[in-house]
């Protein structure tokens, strides 16, 4: 009502003054993706002046794979009218003029101006360390991670407690059996030793059941598998993994094989694996001059292999042999169950996970997943 009472030029001036003070970047594009307007906050966030980017394709602000796919997203929307992001928003990654990438929350709206369709994008930078912890937890919560992680923490504690009981019993039975078999045992002692060994086997089975319960929880508990886009999963996980990494200047490169984009997975679980591997990679590069993270995929007929490669300090021989075992870690903080959970999730999806030394001393983690086409056969 207030704006309507103003003349056209006054309205425009008023809106511009509002936009100048909004901390989030605002970018307006036409229906072909050409930048029409670039707010002062956008100039500051991305490092370009409005007159430099006006007329350019907005995809220039995105890293691969969104960069080369954005035109397709727009034409698909123009043809189908199906909203995949408009009015919904998403967490993704953007790229500054200096080449660095950073996580953002993107909200997109649609409007008609003089019979022409335009899209407005509000971009909130979530890379800052200050808000990182809080935001990271909020985002994780949105992805139902926190509940899962809290349950895992509880589960890990009870697992340790429950495993301790059969292990203590096994120790006692074995020691008892060894004592009974000392010297020349009579028939009675032999029978007791036999019984102790049977009990040992029973306790070992019980320990196995406890471990299986944890696997069942992870693989079937609330697993919801659907056909998903690997590029979307990777883009969102990369954004989550980069939260709080602004000061570290991580150079991220994503290169995905379009042939393996459709996968049948629990999106939350696979993102959990990727976020885990990405944050491990960032931690491993903290003391290194070159901090380069490459996420790539390579598909064959029925499998896609995803790799997360860092240029960090590598993995010591001491840890290498037991890296996927629970409670094994080189970090000062952390329980050391991250990679163990990753392996459980990937194996539950019918894949494998392993690692190898990178060509320049870093580490490459690779895991496989079946493509969705396999399931459709």
């Amino acid at each position: 009502m207030y704006l309507r009472s103003l003349g056209k030029s006054a309205t425009e001036a008023h809106l511009r003054s509002i936009l100048a003070t909004v901390p989030d970047a605002l970018i307006i594009i036409d229906e072909n993706g050409v930048i029409l307007s670039f707010s002062p906050a956008a100039e500051k966030m991305f490092g370009y002046a409005e007159d430099e980017v006006a007329g350019e394709n907005v995809s220039m602000l995105m890293p691969s794979p969104d960069r080369e796919r954005h035109d397709g997203y727009l034409s698909s929307y123009r043809e189908s009218g199906v909203r995949k992001i408009i009015g919904i928003g998403r967490v993704t990654t953007a790229r500054r003029r200096d080449g660095s990438t950073f996580p953002i929350e993107l909200s997109v709206g649609e409007a008609w101006v003089d019979s022409k369709r335009v899209f407005t994008g509000f971009i909130h930078d979530i890379s800052g360390q200050q808000q990182a912890d809080q935001r990271f937890h909020e985002l994780q919560s949105e992805l139902a991670h926190v509940g899962r992680l809290n349950e895992l923490g509880t589960l890990a504690s009870s697992l340790a407690h429950e495993l301790n009981q059969p292990l203590t019993a096994i120790t006692s039975y074995c020691q008892g059996a060894a004592d009974l078999l000392d010297g020349e045992p009579d028939a009675g002692k032999l029978a007791m030793a036999r019984e102790a060994l049977r009990e040992t086997a029973g306790e070992a089975l019980r320990a196995g059941q406890i471990v299986r319960r944890m696997r069942d929880f992870l693989s079937h508990g609330d697993s919801e598998r659907t056909v998903e886009s690997l590029s979307r999963i990777v883009t969102e996980a990369n954004a989550l993994g980069l939260v709080g990494s602004r000061e570290h200047g991580i150079d991220v490169q994503i290169s995905l094989d379009p042939k393996g984009d459709r996968i049948f997975v629990d999106r939350i679980q696979i993102q959990q694996v990727l976020v885990n591997l990405i944050r491990n990679a960032i931690d491993a590069m903290m003391d290194c001059p070159l901090r380069s993270l490459t996420i790539a995929s390579d598909a064959d007929a029925d499998t896609v292999t995803i790799s997360v490669e860092d240029t960090g300090r590598g993995i010591s021989d001491e840890l290498a042999g037991q890296l996927f075992q629970p409670f094994v870690t080189s970090k000062k903080t952390g329980m050391g169950i991250g990679l163990s959970i990753c392996r459980t999730i990937i194996e539950a999806h019918g894949g494998q996970i392993w690692f190898e030394a990178g060509p320049e001393g870093g580490t490459i983690f690779r895991f496989t997943l079946p493509t969705a086409e396999v399931r459709n056969v």
Binding site: P65, E68, D71, D98, G99, Q253, S255, E360
Partner: protein
């Protein structure tokens, strides 16, 4: 003649590695140039603003190149010294050649790139950090 870009002080220092952003300069198709078409080079630079070849040779794998070109997929490769030329090598793509010959690496400096038979584009140094 040895390339002046390579003639640089050969200090071999490891702390003078910089990231140089080269953007497309004026062409008939883009008279004002284009900020969405760029190469990012990581190279060591000597005090007189040329490539520090000794530092490069100590760790050539650090000389990474990235190509961000409009709506095309990102490319990443290595910058290789080849005689008097510098070659941009990205797996699965034809090599490109950067003409660093005699040109100081300073803001605004134009540097041509040969991207194929007879195709040469002017690039301009937009930032060094």
């Amino acid at each position: 003649m040895r390339s002046a870009g390579v003639r640089a002080h050969e200090t071999g220092r490891m702390n003078n590695w910089k990231q140089i952003r080269l953007e497309l300069a004026s062409t008939p198709e883009f008279p004002a140039g284009s900020v969405s078409r760029a190469y990012l080079l990581r190279l060591p630079i000597s005090d007189d603003d040329h490539v520090d070849v000794a530092a490069y040779r100590q760790n050539p794998r650090r000389a990474v190149v990235r190509r961000h070109w409009s709506s095309e997929p990102d490319q990443r490769g290595q910058l290789l010294e080849a005689g008097e030329e510098w070659i941009i090598h990205c797996d699965g793509k034809p090599d490109s050649r950067l003409e660093l010959d005699g040109k100081p690496l300073r803001l605004g400096q134009q540097i041509p790139i040969k991207i194929g038979e007879g195709i040469e584009l002017p690039l301009r140094i937009a930032s060094i950090r």
